[in-house]
């Protein structure tokens, strides 16, 4: 009885959100899955044809390659730079000014960023994209790491010191293992923010930017503009599926380390 009641309350509070998510995302996404197996014009069953078209599409392959390249370079860089800065900052008192300075790019309107970008990175290449990402997100990452470092029990570090561990040993054997829990969060949020780099890439480079920075988002946008919904549907299902599996695996591993 109590369980049923609790379930009722839970559903009551979450109902609006759940209804919205179902109406605006989940049900239409099911429709997208259905469309991914059909031709766009006549609506006939097309089997895996759309998927085959998408996977063999040169532009799609380029976009996947570039996106993976970006994610693979930018996220580790951001995570490591953020950690290094946070480790130093965690020993300094009164760092609120520093944190403000590093967080400020989050408040900077994208148009401002783009103006400055055009002034200095007229090349619009891969590196400028990475720099722009680091510039915007380092503060965010530092704050997350600092929260993780603050949660390490002081006694643990003191005990290690008493046992004769030097600073470096303390870092490797005590602090870093304690921070493993933060990695999941930080990587997930860095990924979330890495997808937003498309704004800069698009605003500076347009729909067809340099070959190095043609991202997945570009190709989706171009298909959308050209009404190539069959390809878009198949690619949406592919990307969502890969992300879903990746997140589950990542969640599983980070819980079982």
């Amino acid at each position: 009885m109590k369980r049923l009641k609790e379930f009722g309350y839970f559903m009551g509070f979450i109902s609006m959100s759940l209804a919205g998510v179902l109406i605006f995302v989940l049900i239409p996404f099911a429709d997208v899955v259905r469309r991914s197996f059909m031709t766009v014009m006549s609506g006939e069953f097309a089997g895996l044809n759309n998927y085959k078209t998408v996977i063999s599409n040169q532009a799609f392959r380029l976009a996947v390659k570039n996106t993976l390249h970006f994610v693979g370079v930018a996220i580790p860089l951001l995570v490591v730079i953020g950690l290094a800065a946070a480790l130093v900052l965690s020993k300094i008192h009164d760092i609120s000014v520093i944190k403000s300075l590093y967080l400020f790019p989050m408040a900077m309107p994208i148009a401002t960023v783009v103006i400055v970008w055009r002034m200095f990175f007229y090349k619009q290449d891969f590196n400028s994209l990475v720099i722009s990402y680091l510039w915007k997100n380092t503060g965010y990452t530092i704050v997350l790491w600092l929260a993780g470092i603050a949660a390490i029990p002081n006694e643990l570090i003191e005990a290690a010191r008493v046992d004769g561990a030097n600073r470096f040993q303390c870092l490797i054997f005590v602090k870093l293992p304690c921070l493993k829990g933060s990695v999941y969060t930080i990587v997930i949020l860095s990924f979330l923010n890495s997808m937003k780099i498309y704004r800069e890439a698009y605003l500076v480079g347009g729909s067809y930017p340099g070959k190095d920075i043609y991202l997945l988002q570009h190709i989706f946008n171009n298909w959308y503009v050209n009404l190539e919904f069959d390809k878009m549907a198949a690619a949406s299902v592919l990307v969502a599926g890969v992300l879903f599996v990746f997140i589950l695996l990542f969640q599983y591993y980070s819980q079982n380390i």
């Binding site: 509070f13 300075l101 309107p109 994208i110 704004r199 969502a240 879903f244």
Partner: protein, 280 residues
């Protein structure tokens, strides 16, 4: 400690470099045509070389702002579009998201973890992946090319739920139990205890949300054809280089509310970042 001062100095110096774009935009906004042309010419005319920049303009002028305020009625329309979109999105997110976060934080029910994981995945899906499904729904509801096409999907974003949830998690379970024993109803507990103690998370979600939607690009681009419906964030990058001064002044106007929210909400911004750490 001397070494601490040195480290601090290095970090602050780097931080000032990080914030430099603001100075560039502000000084650019008070430069006249001639000054700007001289500074920007190497890049925009020849595509090579570097811009030269004067920290203090030789002949400061307010002509750009004058032009913006008195000769650009469309600017105000777009500015108010931005204000309207952002306020309605944030309002909607709170109405929908605060109770949802409360549900996650307070009740232990079967299947909660499944919904939670689905929400995490939805949060991480890039806009473009769900663009087609949003388009199909908005088309069916005949909302395309109206402000609702941008507002409604954003209202049901799952990101703010995790931030608000972070605030609710800090409320001790024992406190809620005690209120129940005293005979308080669930709604009463939610409004008095939940929102009272968990308002940090709510404010954090508002600050993060403001900074996000004030800079919206993809959603209005995909769902708003009529340029008079556009928010400022989408319009500004379209200003051509012949009007650089105007673009700078417009950027400054766009920057002011963001800076205001940033300064007022700085603590909540930090807290929000930590809260978004989605611990299940």
């Amino acid at each position: 400690m001397a070494s601490e001062t040195v480290t601090k100095f290095i970090f602050i110096a780097a931080g000032i470099v990080i914030c430099a774009p603001v100075f560039l935009v502000v000084t650019g906004s008070v430069m006249g045509q001639g000054d700007l042309y001289e500074c920007l010419e190497p890049v925009f005319m020849h595509g090579t070389g570097f811009v030269s920049w004067k920290l203090i303009p030789q002949y400061p002028t307010v002509e750009n702002y004058f032009h913006l305020l008195f000769y650009s009625p469309e600017f105000f329309v777009l500015f108010w579009n931005s204000v309207k979109l952002v306020s309605l999105i944030l309002l909607g997110q709170m109405v929908v998201g605060v109770p949802a976060a409360w549900a996650f934080a307070t009740y232990q029910v079967r299947g909660k973890n499944v919904i939670f994981t689905v929400y995490v995945v939805l949060m991480l899906l890039p806009f473009q992946v769900t663009m087609l499904s949003s388009y199909l729904t908005l088309d069916r509801l005949s909302l395309l090319n109206t402000h609702w096409a941008v507002i409604l999907p954003a209202v049901f974003s799952t990101f703010p739920i995790f931030v608000i949830y972070g605030g609710f998690r800090s409320i001790p379970k024992a406190l809620i139990e005690a209120a129940r024993i005293d005979g308080a109803g669930e709604l009463y507990i939610f409004f008095m205890l939940g929102i009272g103690i968990g308002k940090g998370g709510i404010l954090s979600a508002l600050v993060l949300g403001f900074l996000e939607y004030w800079n919206m690009i993809e959603q209005p681009f995909a769902f708003l054809e009529d340029k008079t419906l556009w928010p400022l964030s989408l319009y500004l990058p379209e200003i051509s280089w012949m009007q650089a001064g105007f673009a700078f002044a417009a950027s400054v106007v766009m920057l002011i509310p963001a800076v205001f929210v940033f300064i007022m909400g700085q603590d909540y911004l930090e807290q929000g970042i930590v809260y978004s750490g989605l611990k299940g």
